[in-house]
C-alpha cells in the first residue's frame, strides 16, 4: 500500500515527465510496428495506419495508463477545483461575504481555542503530569476555604502515604539578588529537596537540594533557572560552585534547570531550599499553614486519587486524636483535600473559558447557517444547469464531489483567513492580559492551532456540502427541465429550511446578546461595589527586608525612618505601612480569639484578615472611622497591646455592644490576660481580596511591632496623580538602604481595576461576539428575504397588476419577518434562560434571567432584523408589474 502511494506521489510530482514518457513510449511502439509491417511488404502509409489502428485511440490508451497509476482521480480533482474556483470568482460578492464570515467565525473560535488549549488541554511539562496532585487544608466552617499546607503536614506525611511515590512542598517569594549597588528583586521559590523528583524533572547540570540543606544554617545553596543562568551568567557551564548573594547572604550555585522547566505559571528565576527550624515542624504548628506553603505529590502508577485521599483522611484522623485543639479543628470542618495539580491550578478560569468557547461556537453556528443559506440560494440559481448536465449523463457521484470540492475550497480559504484572524486575536488577548491567566504564558499561535484550524475548515466544507448536494440531487429532473424560469422554482421544503435557519440564527444571536448582557451587568455591579476605603490618589508598593540584615528591631527602625522621610516628601498627605494591602492578591486569614466570646454549638474559630500597621495607614488609605480612634505612629512606638477592628468584625462578635474596650488574642486560643489586645477603634469594613468578595470575614489591625513579616506594603496618599510619585518613593527607600528596591508599585485604583480583569476581558469578548452575531444575523435575514422577493417577482407583479397595493405587499413581507423574529426570540429566551443557569458561577449579583437584559436583547435583535427586512420589503413594494411580467 505504502509503495503504491509512493509511486503515485512520484508520478504526481513529475507529472510532465510521466506524460512525455508515455507519449514517447507509445510513439516508439507505433513506429516499431510500422517498420515491421513495412518489412512484410506493406506500403508505409498503410502500415502506419494499421499500426495506429491496432493500438486503438491514443487518448483511451493514455487514459487507461493514467488510471493504472491512480493519477486520473487527481486530474478530475484538479478539474473540479478549477471549476469551483471559476464559479467563486464569478460571484465576488458572495465569495467575499462567505470568506469574511468564515474568517471571523473561525478566527474567534481558534483564538479562544488557543487559550483553552494552553490553559486547559495541554498537559503540564513534566513526565506523566496526570499523576501530579496538590494537597491543601480547608476549614470551610471557619470561612477559610484554602490554607495551603504546613511544614508539619509535610514532615508527617512524607513517606507515610503509600499512594504517593513522592511528596514535596514549595512556597513563592521574592528575594533581593546581587552584590551591593546592583541588586535586583527576583521571583524565587523555596522548595523541599524532593520538589524536583516529585515533578520528575531536575537540574540539567548539577544536583538538587538535600535534606541536610533544610535548616537556616545549612541552606546556603541555590539552583538557577535556565533564563537566569543565561542572563546573569551568559550560560557559563562552569557556574556550579560560584557564589550568588541572596538577601545579602552568599549562596553556592549547585544546579541549573533545563530550559523546559516551568512550574505552573511561575516565572521563577531562582530556587532555594525551604529551610525551617525544628520547632516549626512540631505537631502544634500543624494548622498554621496560612496559605504560604503549598504541597504537591506524585501518585504511584497503580494508585488512585481516591486511595490517596482516604489515606490522608485516615492519617489526619489518627494525628488529631492527641491534638489539644482537635475539637475546634473538627468544628471548622477541617479536611486536607487531594486534587489534580493542573485542574486545581486552572479551576478558577475554567468556567469562563468554556463559556467563551461556547459563545464563539454559537457565533460559528450563526455564520455557518448564513453560509448554508447563501450556498442554497446559489445552488437554486443553478438548478437548471445541473439538471441539464445530469440529463446529459453527469453521474450523481460526480455532482456530489463537485459540491464538496467547491464548499471545501471555500472553507479552506476561509480557514486560512481565520488563522490570520486568530493570530491577531491572540495578540489582542495578550494586550487584554491573557498571559496573566494561569498557564497563560503558554498561549501561542503554533502548528497545533493551524492544524486544528485546517481540519475544522475541511470538516465544515464537507458538512456544508451535505444540504447543497441533497438539494441539487433530490429534485425530479423532468419537472426542473420543464419549468420555465431559468433558475427553477424553490420548493416549499427549501423555503421552510431557509426560514428555519433564520429563526435559529435569531435565537442564537439572542442567547449571545443575553449572555454578554449578563457578563456586562455583572462587571458593572462589581465595579459599583465600594472597596470600603478611598482608593483614589493612593500609591502602594511592596518592600521586602532580608532577615539577615534586618532583625525585628532593625525593621521597626527602617519603617520609622521611612515614615519620617515620607512625611517630608512634597505632595505626600499621609503615609502608612501594612503587611498586606487589600487587592494585593495574597491576602490570607488567620485566627483570633475574643475574650468572653462563648462559641455557639458548631461554631468554630473564625479566620480574619489580620494586619500589622504602622505610620498613618488608615488615613493614607482613606478608611472611615466609626468609633474610637485609628492606630497612629505613636502606637507603633509604644508596646501597648491595642488594636483596631472593622465593622464586620465588631458586628459579628458584639452585635449589641460597643467594641471599644473589648479584648482579644491573636491566635486560635485564649492566652494570658496580659497578651490580649484592647480594641481602641472601629473602622469601616473593606474588601480585601476582591470587589466581588461577598462574605465579610472581618479584619483586625495590630500595631506593626506585633505582626512583623518578611515584607510590607507602603501606602502613600498624595494630592498628585499617584503614579507620578513612584520614582520619588523609590528614591526615599534607597536613601535609607541602597540595597532595597520597591516592588509592585501600583496605585490602589490600578490594583482594583486589575482585580477585575478576569471579568472585564470575558465581558468585552462576549460583547464583541454578540456584535458580530447581530451583524451576521442581519446579513442572513437580509439575504433570505431579498432572495424571496426576487423569487416571487412575477407573482408580486401579477398581484399588483390585479390591483394589490404596494402597502399590502410591503406588509406581507414585513409580517413574514416579524413571524420569524417572534419565533426566534421565543427560542432565544428559552436558550438564554438555560445559558444563564450554566453561567451562574461567573455572575455577580445578577439573576440568570434578568428581565431588563432580555428586553434589551429583544429590542436590539428586533431593530436590527427589522432594518434588515425593510430594504427587501421596500423593493418588493416597488416592483413594476409591467417589467416583472414581461421579463424572461
Amino acid at each position: 500500500m505504502f509503495k503504491r502511494l509512493r509511486s503515485l506521489f512520484r508520478v504526481l510530482t513529475r507529472r510532465r515527465e510521466f506524460e512525455d514518457g508515455m507519449t514517447e513510449e507509445l510513439r516508439f511502439h507505433v513506429e516499431q510496428y510500422t517498420d515491421e509491417l513495412v518489412r512484410t511488404g506493406m506500403s508505409p502509409g498503410k502500415a502506419a495506419r494499421l499500426a495506429q489502428q491496432e493500438l486503438g485511440s491514443l487518448t483511451n490508451v493514455k487514459g487507461d495508463c493514467r488510471e493504472a497509476f491512480g493519477v486520473h482521480l487527481f486530474d478530475e480533482f484538479r478539474r473540479e477545483l478549477s471549476y469551483a474556483a471559476r464559479l467563486l470568482r464569478k460571484t465576488p460578492g458572495f465569495t467575499a461575504t462567505a470568506l469574511l464570515t468564515l474568517a471571523i467565525c473561525l478566527g474567534a473560535n481558534l483564538t479562544i481555542f488557543a487559550v483553552i488549549d494552553s490553559v486547559l488541554l495541554r498537559p503540564l511539562p513534566f513526565p506523566e503530569p496526570g499523576r501530579l496532585m496538590t494537597i491543601f487544608n480547608t476549614y470551610p466552617k471557619a470561612g477559610v476555604d484554602r490554607d495551603g499546607s504546613s511544614l508539619t503536614n509535610y514532615y508527617e506525611r512524607r513517606g507515610h502515604i503509600s499512594a504517593f511515590a513522592s511528596l514535596a512542598i514549595y512556597g513563592y517569594s521574592t528575594e533581593i539578588i546581587g552584590d551591593p549597588g546592583s541588586t535586583a528583586r527576583e521571583q524565587t521559590m523555596r522548595v523541599s529537596p524532593d520538589f524536583f523528583s516529585t515533578l520528575g524533572l531536575g537540574p540539567a547540570i548539577g544536583r538538587t537540594f538535600t535534606d541536610e540543606e533544610t535548616t537556616s544554617e545549612t541552606d546556603h545553596v541555590a539552583i538557577l533557572s535556565d533564563t537566569f543562568w543565561g542572563q546573569r551568567y551568559n550560560a557559563d557551564p562552569n557556574v556550579l560552585g560560584k557564589q550568588i548573594r541572596v538577601n545579602s547572604v552568599p549562596r553556592t550555585v549547585i544546579g541549573v534547570l533545563p530550559p523546559t522547566f516551568r512550574f505552573l505559571s511561575a516565572d521563577t528565576r531562582l530556587f532555594l531550599p525551604l529551610a525551617s527550624r525544628p520547632e516549626d515542624r512540631l505537631p502544634s504548628r500543624r494548622h498554621s499553614g496560612g496559605n504560604v506553603i503549598q504541597m504537591i505529590a506524585r501518585l504511584k502508577p497503580d494508585a488512585t486519587l481516591a486511595q490517596a485521599q482516604s489515606q490522608i483522611d485516615a492519617q489526619n484522623a489518627t494525628l488529631e486524636l492527641d491534638d489539644p485543639q482537635a475539637k475546634m479543628i473538627a468544628d471548622a470542618g477541617f479536611r486536607s483535600l487531594v486534587v489534580p495539580l493542573h485542574a486545581d491550578h486552572v479551576a478558577a478560569i475554567r468556567p469562563t473559558l468554556l463559556l467563551l468557547q461556547a459563545g464563539a461556537m454559537a457565533l460559528l453556528l450563526i455564520g455557518a447557517v448564513n453560509l448554508v443559506n447563501l450556498l442554497l440560494v446559489r445552488a437554486s440559481s443553478r438548478v437548471k444547469e445541473l439538471a441539464v448536465r445530469q440529463a446529459l449523463g453527469a453521474s450523481r457521484g460526480y455532482l456530489v464531489s463537485e459540491v464538496i470540492v467547491e464548499t471545501t475550497l471555500l472553507t479552506i480559504v476561509g480557514g486560512l483567513l481565520g488563522l490570520a484572524v486568530a493570530a491577531g486575536g491572540i495578540h489582542l488577548l495578550r494586550v487584554l492580559g491573557a498571559d496573566r491567566l494561569p498557564l497563560g504564558g503558554r498561549i501561542a499561535f503554533d502548528a497545533r492551532l493551524a492544524m486544528v484550524g485546517l481540519v475544522a475548515a475541511i470538516i465544515m466544507g464537507i458538512v456544508f456540502a451535505v444540504p447543497i448536494a441533497w438539494f441539487n440531487l433530490r429534485r425530479h429532473l423532468g419537472n426542473t427541465l420543464q419549468s420555465e424560469s431559468r433558475g427553477g422554482t424553490s420548493g416549499r421544503t427549501a423555503q421552510r429550511m431557509r426560514h428555519g435557519f433564520i429563526v435559529s440564527q435569531i435565537a442564537l444571536a439572542f442567547i449571545l446578546l443575553a449572555g454578554a448582557g449578563l457578563l456586562g451587568l455583572s462587571l458593572q455591579r462589581a465595579m459599583a461595589v465600594s472597596p470600603g476605603f478611598q482608593s483614589d490618589h493612593v500609591l502602594t508598593g511592596q518592600i521586602l527586608l532580608p532577615w539577615a540584615t534586618y532583625p525585628d528591631a532593625a525593621r521597626l527602625t527602617f519603617v520609622e525612618s521611612l515614615m519620617d522621610n515620607l512625611s517630608h516628601m512634597p505632595g505626600v498627605l499621609s503615609a502608612g505601612v501594612v503587611n498586606n494591602v487589600p487587592f494585593s492578591g495574597h491576602n490570607g486569614k488567620s485566627a483570633a480569639t475574643v475574650m468572653g466570646h462563648v462559641r455557639r454549638p458548631g461554631e468554630s474559630a473564625r479566620g480574619h484578615y489580620s494586619y500589622g500597621v504602622a505610620g498613618d495607614y488608615f488615613r493614607a488609605m482613606g478608611f472611615s472611622l466609626l468609633a474610637g480612634r485609628f492606630l497612629t505612629a505613636d502606637d507603633s512606638r509604644r508596646s501597648e497591646r491595642v488594636c483596631v477592628v472593622d465593622e464586620d468584625f465588631a458586628r459579628y462578635y458584639w452585635p449589641n455592644a460597643s467594641a471599644i474596650g473589648q479584648r482579644l488574642w491573636d491566635g486560635s486560643e485564649a492566652a494570658k490576660d496580659a497578651e490580649a489586645f484592647t480594641v481602641v477603634g472601629v473602622v469601616g469594613g473593606a474588601k480585601q481580596a476582591g470587589l466581588t468578595e461577598d462574605e465579610a470575614q472581618g479584619a483586625i489591625y495590630y500595631p506593626y511591632a506585633f505582626r512583623i513579616d518578611d515584607s510590607f506594603f507602603v501606602a502613600v496618599r498624595t494630592s498628585l496623580p499617584p503614579e507620578s510619585l513612584g520614582l520619588a518613593l523609590q528614591k526615599e527607600v534607597r536613601q535609607i538602604d541602597p540595597d532595597i528596591p520597591v516592588n509592585d508599585l501600583r496605585s490602589m485604583e490600578t490594583r482594583i481595576t486589575d482585580s477585575l480583569a478576569a471579568r472585564r476581558s470575558p465581558a468585552l469578548l462576549a460583547g464583541l461576539f454578540s456584535g458580530i452575531a447581530l451583524l451576521l444575523t442581519a446579513i442572513g435575514t437580509y439575504g433570505v428575504l431579498s432572495y424571496a422577493v426576487a423569487q416571487r417577482r412575477r407573482e408580486i407583479g401579477l398581484r399588483m397588476a390585479l390591483g394589490a397595493q404596494p402597502r399590502q405587499i410591503r406588509i406581507q413581507f414585513l409580517s413574514l419577518s416579524l413571524r420569524l423574529l417572534a419565533s426566534g426570540t421565543i427560542l432565544g429566551v428559552i436558550g438564554a434562560w438555560l445559558t444563564g443557569q450554566a453561567m451562574q458561577a461567573v455572575l455577580f449579583h445578577v439573576q440568570p434571567l434578568n428581565l431588563a437584559i432580555l428586553a434589551g436583547a429583544a429590542c436590539l435583535i428586533g431593530l436590527v432584523s427589522l432594518a434588515a427586512c425593510l430594504l427587501p420589503s421596500q423593493r418588493a413594494a416597488r416592483i413594476s408589474p409591467m417589467e416583472a411580467l414581461t421579463e424572461q
Binding site: K3, R4, S7, L8, G21, M22, E24, E25, L26, F28, H29, E31, Q32, Y33, E54, L55, G56, N60, V61, D64, C65, E67, A68, F69, G70
Partner: protein, 113 residues
C-alpha cells in the same frame, strides 16, 4: 498462419511477467516476445498492453528504465523486480495446478466415473 487463441482474463499480466523475466524488454518487445514464445498462438490486444505494463509498474512487479533500443532509439525497458519474480513463480504454479486439474477433468472418460 496458425490459429490464434483468445487471451483468458488475468493471463496477460502473467505473460508480461514471463516475457520480461527472460530479458529486459521495451513495450513493443514484450508484444513480440509473447507472440514468439507462444509460437504465434497468442495475440495480445495492443490497446491493453500498456495499461497492463503501467499497472505492473505501479504495483512494483516490474521496474522501468530508459535505454537504447536495437536501432539506437530511446526506449523504455522493463525488468522484473524481486516482487515480480515471486509473483511469476506463484502464478505459474497456480496456473499449472489449474491446467492439470482442468485437463484431467476434461480427459475423464465414462468408465472412470
Amino acid at each position: 498462419m496458425t490459429k490464434t487463441a483468445e487471451l483468458l482474463p488475468g493471463t496477460l499480466d502473467m505473460l508480461i511477467l514471463k516475457a520480461v523475466s527472460l530479458k529486459p524488454l521495451h513495450g513493443y518487445g514484450v508484444l513480440v516476445r509473447i507472440r514468439q514464445i507462444s509460437g504465434d498462438a497468442l495475440e495480445i490486444p495492443q490497446g491493453s498492453l500498456y495499461p497492463a505494463l503501467y499497472r505492473l509498474e505501479h504495483h512494483d512487479l516490474i521496474a522501468a528504465a530508459w535505454g537504447q533500443s536495437e536501432n539506437n532509439r530511446r526506449a523504455k525497458y522493463y525488468t522484473l523486480t524481486a516482487a515480480g519474480r515471486r509473483r511469476l513463480r506463484d502464478e505459474t504454479a497456480g496456473w499449472n495446478r489449474l491446467a492439470t486439474a482442468i485437463a484431467a477433468a476434461l480427459n475423464t472418460t465414462s468408465e472412470e466415473v
